[in-house]
């Protein structure tokens, strides 16, 4: 596809690192997820990732897995992630949306049907963490045909020849995993992060964003100086769970998370508090 996607446009127009929060669809409920996405967009999120709950998420850490189980226990159905995106677009949301989903769910529905529904409902890109470069089959072709970006992940353990492959295949951006581990909040950023991001940036003009283990504004600020984007998932999902547990739902929850998103976004954008 020669057309420029909304994700590509966003990176092209940004003067600073992008801030990309992650929310689990249906945690604590779909209405709140929609409100959280709108609030995040209003508070400085440049792109937003929405996770599709799955029963056996091997690429995600305990925090995200727990959020998936909470959503599934409430009866989440895959179709609802498309309804969510559709409603957000009808509301006028312009922020690029990425759908993070296990290949198990994509394969079940069928690649063409899943990507088609994602595009039609308003998603701009797909992240399929258990579909590594080299085993993506028709996914890259189908995504391109639908006008979706297909974001591949790159890990600290990834050797140079695979980095080259990922740099070549990934569109929209490259999702660099900051730690060799599952998603979750970490205290400090790993020492090899900067060198690895630099290496990737040397291989492609596709933006490189860093996630997995970024949780605080300090970390977001640090990552913002070396990468094109900062992704925060577990820290937000954990905070949502704690707020819900303490009885803070609805508007109260949305505002609290909004403040957290703003702090992280400001840090990623290089605005010092």
């Amino acid at each position: 596809m020669s057309t420029v996607t909304r994700i590509q446009q966003t990176f092209a127009s940004l003067k600073h690192a992008a801030f990309i929060p992650f929310f689990t669809a249906g945690d604590p409920d779909l209405g709140t997820t929609a409100a959280l996405v709108r609030e995040a967009a209003a508070r400085g999120a440049d792109l937003i990732e929405i996770g599709v709950p799955f029963s056996d998420p091997i690429a995600d850490g305990p925090v995200i897995q727990a959020s998936y189980y909470r959503a599934l226990d409430k009866g989440f159905k895959v179709e609802q992630v498309f309804e969510l995106a559709r409603a957000l677009r009808q509301d006028g949301l312009k922020t690029p949306l990425l759908c993070m989903v296990s290949d198990s769910l994509v394969f079940h529905r069928g690649l063409d049907a899943f990507f088609g529904a994602a595009k039609e409902s308003g998603f701009d890109g797909m992240i399929v963490p258990d579909l590594p470069a080299g085993y993506e089959g028709d996914a890259a072709r189908v995504a391109a045909a639908k006008g979706l970006d297909l974001v591949f992940l790159c890990a600290p353990t990834t050797p140079p020849e695979r980095r080259a492959l990922i740099a070549q295949r990934s569109t929209g951006f490259i999702y660099y995993i900051s730690v060799a581990g599952i998603t979750g909040t970490r205290m400090a950023l790993p020492p090899d992060l900067e060198a690895n991001v630099k290496d990737l940036r040397g291989r492609t003009r596709t933006p490189v964003c860093v996630g997995f283990g970024v949780s605080t504004p300090e970390q977001a600020a640090a990552v913002g100086t070396i990468a094109h984007g900062v992704i925060v998932g577990s820290a937000l999902v954990k905070q949502i769970a704690e707020l819900v547990k303490a009885g803070n739902t609805g508007e109260k929850l949305v505002k609290a998370i909004g403040a957290q998103v703003q702090a992280l976004a400001d840090a990623a954008h290089g605005k010092h508090a």
């Binding site: 029963s55 056996d56 727990a66 258990d130 590594p132 085993y135 353990t157 599952i182």
Partner: protein, 406 residues
């Protein structure tokens, strides 16, 4: 004689780990990027090890002097007489050190772990047999070991938890999901994601990302090779049918594989039907599953209408799994192997039947194979020979069976 299809069947998988081709086949490597280099390294190391006489000799020596191989192929005289059909032989994996076939694989993978210079191993376990076999190999090689086990299985298999701890392993009780084998797999994968640089994940069945289904099959195929030799010695011919239980399917793959080219040998896998394959409480993946992706492989999976992994059930903790090894999926589709099922009740009957008739208490997993063999022996008739893979002994199940029979 083997025809072209047969030869193709035995030559699986392809270089990328697909049984029956990438477009429509099973297997592959559907895992997070973090684990890709580890699987590639394992594949390289395994291919080199296979051709290294030192590796092969060391494994054979361990089989002989540590596991006690070859184990016997026992003629089940009273069972044969009672059923009045085919002559029945039992392949005695229950007599291996640690009491099941699992040790064949864990020793092979322990040797690979040492070759890769890793010092820590992790494993998932259902019934605890693979956990015990991994803990045993870890003790033998001086590795640190951590075994993940679902909370429900920890309850059902308390004795095996103690055995693992006695062997110096840490046992982590998994409280997420259904709290059984699949959830233990999720947790082990998650551990591996953050420990991959110094840790090898000893997957316990012919499942997971390439090359695990292949290398586990190869390590387990010592079972089938011995059966072949022992059969020729005792009967001067190959058996007419081989029956084995299938959860993930490693004991079945191990005994089937050396016979894939002998198309006159019927290969029969027995899945756990739980309370019946038409109820919602079973784990008969090949009977009722559909193509899907689970734990890094494309295979048959039991899923709900939305694509979420289905709740499964079996009286046997080792068969309580919603997926199946990709090579079994392939053998089902090509028709080279046939897959049937046995219910909890049939397995419990067979458990007691073998104890009374042959003085052998089988594992509840293996009891599924016994249950089907009771039907098949009659069907085959007296001039035929049937081999049952007695994949493990039943000591670990006695508490649970006693509870169920009360």
């Amino acid at each position: 004689m083997a025809d072209a299809t047969q030869a193709a069947t035995a030559a699986q998988p392809d270089a990328r780990g697909f049984f029956g081709g990438e477009a429509t086949g099973f297997g592959g490597r559907f895992i997070p990027e973090t684990l890709m280099p580890a699987c590639e390294e394992l594949e390289r190391e395994y291919l080199a090890a296979k051709k290294d006489p030192a590796f092969v000799n060391e494994l054979e020596k361990l089989f002989r002097e540590y596991v006690g191989r070859p184990n016997p192929l026992t003629f089940a005289a009273r069972m044969t007489k009672d059923l009045g059909g085919a002559k029945i032989y039992l392949k005695r994996e229950d007599l291996n050190h640690t009491g099941a076939h699992k040790i064949n694989n864990t020793l092979g993978q322990a040797l690979l772990t040492r070759r890769m210079g890793k010092k820590r191993v992790i494993a998932e376990t259902g019934a605890g047999q693979h956990g015990v076999a991994t803990a045993t190999a870890a003790a033998l090689f001086g590795f640190e070991c951590c075994v993940y086990m679902g909370a429900e299985d920890v309850r059902r298999q308390a004795l095996n938890v103690f055995r693992m701890e006695l062997l110096g392993s840490k046992v982590v009780t998994v409280q997420s999901g259904q709290r059984t084998l699949k959830d233990a797999c999720n947790e082990a994968m998650r551990d591996w994601m953050s420990s991959v640089r110094d840790t090898h994940y000893i997957i316990g069945s012919v499942m997971g990302p390439h090359p695990f289904p292949t290398l586990v099959r190869d390590f387990q195929s010592v079972i089938g090779r011995e059966v072949r030799e022992q059969m020729m010695e005792k009967e001067h011919r190959l058996p007419d049918a081989i029956v084995a239980c299938v959860g993930g399917g490693s004991n079945a793959m191990g005994i089937f594989y050396p016979f894939l080219l002998d198309k006159d040998v019927r290969l029969v896998g027995v899945e756990p039907a739980g309370e019946g394959v038409d109820t919602h409480r079973h784990a008969a993946t090949l009977a009722r599953g559909r193509r899907g992706v689970l734990h890094g492989m494309k295979t048959y999976v039991l899923q709900d209408a939305d694509g979420q992994t289905a709740q499964v059930h079996s009286v046997s903790a080792g068969l309580d799994y919603p997926g199946v090894g990709p090579e079994h999926a392939y053998l089902k589709d090509t028709g080279r192997a046939e897959y049937v099922s046995a219910t909890d009740t049939e397995a419990l009957d067979a458990f007691q039947y073998l104890a009374r008739l042959e003085g052998i208490i089988p594992a509840l997993e293996s009891a599924h194979a016994i249950a089907h063999a009771r039907k098949l022996a009659k069907e085959l008739g007296p001039d035929k020979i049937l081999v049952i893979n007695l994949s493990g002994r039943g000591d670990k199940d006695c508490e649970e069976v006693r509870r169920l029979l009360k």
